[in-house]
């Protein structure tokens, strides 16, 4: 059972009338992975999540969640979900809401009573268990929604924009929760606009553009794999520039400024030593990591306008 991937989809497609919301969702998420799902607005992120959770029926394609088909209700016992803009019956108190959802998950009243105070504490709402949700701010609702998604100690959690509406403290709380989930071996499927967050928390990301998964990659390779370096030096001859190509896959010189893209940051001391050795005067050599944002713009940005 645990050997099957957490999520496995093949050619999942969703059409609304003549509009194609998701053209081809093909991806695999392993157990215990923290998986980031990125794309511009309207690329089909939320629709994809809805299909995976059985809220919207795919027009074509197939998928298995936790080794079971999409229509299987039993798999949902092990799944947590925080919808985008979590909305719920605001006439319930926080504890009542969580108890209701716990019961829907098949938890006993006793299990709910044990779990809920702990969860409220995790999301920083321990003093608000008996407050009505209608008195909650947007951020507090988001927190209670997160608690709701963790009730059943799920094996797989979908978080759709979990930090929207949260202040920096709240965002940090979400990050800590995700770390905690990783520690417990839970798979997390994270939809987020906050790329810096994805960068910190995720193991792997997929980019979706116009309803198609255009690239999937391990974040380590994506971000650490390429490093751009800004060099300031005088006395750089064309021969030196040529020689730099043994480390750099891209060399651009603009006066005394040289721009390099190297594969491994570990090469930088050798590059510095070599440049000096060749007789150039080196003033600065500054590595600049390629951020996820750069990559996002590269992959999705140029023609990422909604069709």
């Amino acid at each position: 059972m645990t050997s099957s991937p957490a999520i496995e989809t093949s050619g999942l497609r969703k059409e609304y009338g003549s509009k194609v919301a998701v053209a081809d969702l093909t991806l695999q998420v392993g157990r215990g992975e923290i998986f980031g799902f990125l794309g511009p607005n309207g690329a089909g992120k939320t629709t994809s999540v809805k299909m995976l959770l059985g809220l919207a029926a795919p027009t074509a394609g197939s998928a298995r969640i936790l080794g079971r088909p999409l229509s299987d209700r039993q798999a949902r016992r092990k799944i947590g979900f925080l919808p985008e803009h979590f909305r719920f019956y605001d006439w319930l108190t926080a504890s009542e809401l969580l108890t209701y959802h716990g019961r829907l998950l098949g938890m006993t009243p006793g299990a709910c009573a044990r779990q809920i105070p702990q969860l409220l504490d995790t999301v920083g709402l321990s003093h608000y268990g008996d407050s009505r949700l209608k008195t909650f701010s947007k951020g507090m609702l988001q927190r209670i929604g997160l608690a709701q998604a963790l009730l059943n100690e799920p094996e797989l959690v979908f978080l759709d924009e979990p930090t929207s509406g949260l202040d920096p403290l709240g965002r940090r709380m979400v990050r800590d929760v995700i770390r905690g989930l990783r520690g417990g071996g839970t798979t997390v499927f994270l939809n987020s606009h906050f790329l810096s967050e994805v960068e910190i928390t995720c193991d792997r990301v997929a980019f979706i553009k116009e309803g198609v998964v255009v690239r999937t990659a391990e974040l380590q390779h994506l971000v650490a794999g390429e490093t751009s370096v800004e060099v300031r030096a005088t006395g750089v001859t064309p021969a030196i520039l040529d020689g730099l190509r043994q480390w750099a896959k891209e060399v651009r010189a603009d006066g005394e400024h040289i721009h390099l893209v190297v594969n491994d940051e570990e090469d930088l001391p050798a590059i510095a030593a070599w440049v000096v050795e060749q007789g150039a005067r080196l003033y600065a050599l500054e590595p600049k990591r390629v951020s996820l944002e750069d990559l996002f713009l590269q992959i999705v940005g140029t023609s990422g306008e909604p069709r």
Partner: protein, 278 residues
């Protein structure tokens, strides 16, 4: 089953928390108070008037009871529609349904749970209002109309027709459109029922058929007419063509038809809701 009960329970709690129940109880009590006090004075007057021929008194009392029940009937219809009109469409619109529908629960259980909750409320409301009218009439005038139980059950059945239609509408219409549709159907049945009454008085088959078709589309008015027919004294049925009563006995097949109608509407609602993208 436990999921259905859970949803029914939360539906009840919603009605309580959002003060729907209180509003219904307080205004229902006001209705009964006015009816009871009014009846007391009318009855005192009637006793004087009919001192010579007391055998005619029940006819007048019956008319008063039927007027009150006619109003209760309308209140029950409004209650059935207003409580349930927004429940599916509203939760789909706000997205509140998403966190529920992704739990290990069938869509059918969500819908049936809501139905059970609203139907339960309707039963309580019917018990309060119909029971209140009958009880106060008995307390004031020692009068009970014929077939009170059957009449009350038929009125409840009419409420359920409206409830099922409003749940069905919620699976594919917005809240407002749903309300317009269900009240509109009620209007169709209402005017159709009148056509049928006039048609049978004027012996016009065409007009009767128009009425019959409309009551097949929406059987609510026919059920009320049957309830009224049962609760009137036999003598009264011959000359009373008013909204409060019925001159023609509805056919027994109509009950079976209404049963099938209820099940068909619910089946369609379940099917719509199961296929709907939330």
């Amino acid at each position: 089953m436990s999921n259905i009960l859970l949803i029914a329970q939360i539906t009840f709690r919603e009605a309580r928390r959002r003060k729907i129940m209180w509003a219904a109880l307080i205004l229902g009590a006001a209705f009964l108070l006015i009816y009871g006090v009014g009846l007391y004075f009318i009855h005192r007057e009637l006793m004087r008037e009919f001192a010579q021929r007391p055998q005619n008194l029940p006819t007048f009392l019956n008319m008063l009871v039927m007027m009150a029940l006619y109003a209760v009937n309308f209140l029950m219809i409004a209650m059935a529609i207003l409580t349930s009109v927004d429940t599916i469409a509203g939760e789909v619109g706000s997205g509140a349904i998403q966190a529920v529908a992704t739990k290990p629960i069938r869509r059918a259980e969500i819908l049936l749970g809501k139905w059970l909750g609203f139907a339960g409320m309707l039963v309580l409301y019917a018990a309060l209002m119909i029971g209140g009218v009958l009880l106060s009439t008995w307390l004031v005038a020692r009068y009970v109309p014929p077939h009170p139980i059957e009449g009350a059950l038929l009125m409840l059945l009419e409420g359920l027709v409206l409830l099922n239609l409003s749940l069905l509408g919620g699976t594919f219409l917005s809240t407002l459109a749903n309300g317009v549709m269900v009240f509109g159907l009620f209007g169709v049945a209402f005017v159709g029922g009148w056509m049928e009454q006039f048609g049978s008085m004027m012996h016009s088959e065409t007009v009767v058929n128009i009425g019959i078709v409309s009551s097949l589309i929406m059987p609510s008015e026919t059920i009320w007419r049957w309830a009224a027919y049962l609760m009137q004294p036999p003598l009264f049925r011959n000359f009373n063509a008013s909204p409060f009563g019925s001159a023609s006995q509805p056919s027994a097949a109509m009950i079976i038809y209404t049963g099938i109608y209820l099940i068909a509407v619910m089946t369609l609602a379940l099917q719509n809701f199961r296929k709907r993208d939330l």
